[in-house]
């Protein structure tokens, strides 16, 4: 989150920088002035003649044009086009004066702005920066305000050369050289207009290029700043990590020594060493809990009892119980596990609330914890178990039962559960703990609708090794799948009763090869009677496949 904020700040700084540069750029381009050109000549010394002819008593600005090799004579400077236009009107001149625009002291109307051509308009932005300037030939001067000059594009060229001449008649009394030059310029108006358009494009390209340079510079700057920030962050993080790690290591070292001393050297548990008694900081509590759990899961006896005392004395059990209220599932799971491992029996009620938790890990931890903590009724939660028990959960519960030497309950009471996985788990446990009293309750499960339950029931029935079960197994045999059929044959095989040979003999003629082999092996395992029976079959049968199977089973090398 902090990093995101930091990057946003840098982005804002970057944009501000860009805006600042753009503004600087605007200011640089925004100096526009308008002057009145009264004449042009190839000689600078014509200045006095011009003053005389025009009758103007104004200071004349002389501007030399490199391209036309002419001296341009200008008066006044105006900030707006309107001001220049008003002044031009007030002159009531007939010598062909016109308005010239300067952008940053550069003449913008170089060749185009002869006596008959004027800047029709310019497109400017709010900072008076020229976006587009269009010059048209023979356009009469119209009163155009800078703010409204962005009309140009759509406006058609309205006037003709004649119309322009009416407004600005061709000078007659101006000196010859100037007139000649003006004529030449007039002839090349169209070409010049086109040239200007090209020049404008070049101008705008330069400006775009500059912007691109600025953008690139800002990107480079942003990247450099990001890298520096990243390095600083990594550096700071490394420092913090080193500090935390060295602090933890130091505490861990002291803690281990004190813990060992507390377990084996202290006379009583009443007094605790300082590292064990003052556990206020979170990191200390975490390390202490971790170490206690590690040791507690590995040792038993008086040392383990002392660890338990230490755990409860420090209030770590209450902290774990409190942590069960936290929203994160991982915190819940860890704390349930902790309470279970440390045998905190008072947490049973709290832990039982997580038996049907949505999160699988929390649910599994709660189940294992219940087996461990609820010593009187370790599997009572199975009564209300609605969610399926996975094999992993079943294994963990069995492991908890064995590891904590808990007396297994009568699992037959869950054989009628509506949850099939609970029934299967109970069947497995009945088998594991040889709960032979459950035999009568297991038999009906051979007809259970779920084939997995039937499979577990067959295995459990087999484990009882009771002759009574054979009849039930034979009855169900035909409709079962291969896995269940195989389990039934193996169950009958374990009984080793000659009375079962007839049933097994029939199975040798079964269409499934594996069944044939299993049945033959079962007959052979019954003993001399079984082998004799197979020998007889070998002598009387003509089926080559069966003969091969029997020969294979009777081969002493396979015994």
């Amino acid at each position: 989150m902090f990093k995101i904020k930091l990057y946003i700040t840098f982005l804002i700084l970057f944009l501000s920088g860009f805006k600042l540069l753009a503004e600087t750029n605007d200011k640089k381009d925004s100096i526009i002035i308008f002057r009145i050109q009264i004449a042009a000549s190839s000689k600078r010394s014509d200045l006095e003649i011009i003053k005389k002819n025009t009758g103007l008593n104004e200071p004349i600005i002389v501007d030399f044009d490199e391209k036309s090799r002419l001296y341009k004579f200008m008066i006044r400077s105006f900030p707006t086009f309107d001001n220049a236009r008003n002044f031009l009107d007030s002159l009531h001149q007939n010598y062909g004066a016109f308005i010239v625009m300067y952008l940053n002291q550069n003449r913008q109307t170089e060749k185009v702005m002869d006596a008959y051509v004027l800047t029709q308009g310019i497109e400017i932005d709010s900072n008076q920066r020229i976006i587009r300037r269009i010059v048209k030939e023979t356009v009469a001067l119209e009163k155009v305000k800078p703010a409204t000059i962005n009309i140009i594009k759509s406006k058609t060229v309205p006037a003709t050369v004649n119309k322009a001449e009416e407004t600005y008649p061709h000078p007659k009394n101006i000196f010859e050289s100037t007139i000649n030059l003006m004529d030449k310029i007039k002839e090349s108006i169209l070409i010049n207009v086109n040239n200007l358009d090209i020049a404008q494009e070049t101008n705008s390209n330069v400006s775009y290029f500059e912007i691109m340079i600025y953008v690139l510079l800002m990107i480079v700057l942003f990247c450099i700043l990001s890298i520096i920030t990243l390095i600083l962050l990594l550096f700071t993080r490394r420092i913090v990590q080193n500090f935390t790690s060295s602090r933890n290591e130091e505490y861990e070292k002291k803690l281990q020594e004190d813990l060992v001393s507390f377990l084996f050297y202290e006379e009583s548990t009443a007094t605790l060493p300082p590292t064990l008694s003052k556990v206020n900081a979170n990191y200390k509590r975490k390390i202490l809990t971790d170490k206690i759990l590690q040791l507690y899961s590995n040792i038993i006896g008086s040392a383990a009892e002392r660890l338990h005392v230490l755990y409860t004395k420090q209030g770590l059990d209450n902290i774990s119980i409190e942590n069960l209220k936290r929203s994160r599932w991982s915190v819940k799971a860890v704390n349930i596990n902790m309470l279970s491992k440390m045998n905190i029996y008072k947490a049973v009620d709290k832990v039982s609330g997580f038996l049907n938790a949505d999160n699988y890990v929390v649910r599994k931890e709660a189940e294992v914890a219940m087996v461990n903590l609820d010593r009187e009724h370790p599997f009572e939660f199975l009564n209300n178990k609605t969610l399926p028990l996975s094999d992993w959960e079943q294994m963990n519960m069995y492991d908890a039962l064995i590891r904590n030497s808990i007396k297994p309950p009568e699992f037959s009471k869950w054989l009628n559960s509506t949850n099939d996985t609970v029934v299967m788990f109970s069947l497995k446990m009945i088998r594991m703990f040889r709960q032979n009293d459950a035999f009568e309750k297991v038999l009906p499960l051979l007809k259970h609708s779920n084939e997995n339950v039937r499979y577990q029931a067959i295995l459990t029935t087999n484990a009882f090794r009771k002759d009574e079960s054979v009849k039930h197994l034979i009855d169900m045999f035909t409709n079962e799948d291969f896995r269940n059929k195989e389990a039934i044959i193996r169950g009958i095989e374990t009984l080793k009763k000659t009375s079962n040979i007839e049933f097994l003999k029939d199975l040798i003629f079964n269409s499934e090869m594996q069944i044939k082999i299993e049945a033959t092996k079962a007959i052979a395992s019954i003993g001399i009677a079984g082998k004799r029976e197979l020998q007889n079959m070998l002598n009387t049968l003509n089926d080559e496949q069966i003969i091969e199977v029997i020969k294979h089973v009777l081969d002493k090398r396979n015994e």
């Binding site: 281990q256 084996f264 590690q294 040791l295 899961s297 590995n298 006896g301 008086s302």
Partner: protein, 139 residues
């Protein structure tokens, strides 16, 4: 008695060390099989206690090296969470003398060490019985 303990759980290693030192033993601790191997290359100990699942060289491999490479005959006690019969049998076959499964009682460790020592002596040395004083000794 010089005892080499090889256990990768640090706190448990400290606990075993503490408990054995309490009995006055000289305890050398290592947290992986390679450290133990390197130590045994240089020195012999009186008893070795090792876990099976340790880094670099497993406890079972360590037994193999002790018995076949270094040709040491000191008692080796396995201290492991592995509780299956195949592993236990394999450990004995390699040359382990005792197999203790975790969780274990540290107070019983001393008894197990003595038991392993006596078994080793019985297997390798003659028992001299002094009938007159009604006691026996190992030589």
């Amino acid at each position: 008695m010089k005892i080499l303990v090889c256990e990768n759980n640090e706190i448990l290693l400290k606990a075993i060390e503490g408990r054995l030192k309490l009995e006055g033993h000289d305890v050398i601790t290592t947290m992986n099989g390679r450290e133990a191997y390197n130590f045994l290359e240089k020195e012999k100990v009186d008893v070795m206690i090792t876990d099976i699942l340790i880094p670099f060289i497993s406890g079972l491999e360590l037994i193999f090296f002790v018995r076949n490479q270094f040709k040491y005959d000191f008692p080796i006690i396995i201290l492991s969470k592995l509780n299956n019969m195949d592993t236990i049998k394999y450990a004995y076959r390699l040359g382990a003398d005792e197999y203790i499964t975790k969780p274990f009682d540290p107070d019983w460790l001393e008894v197990q060490i003595k038991k392993a020592m006596i078994n080793k002596s019985l297997n390798t040395k003659e028992i001299k019985v002094d009938i007159s004083e009604n006691r026996y000794s190992l030589s």
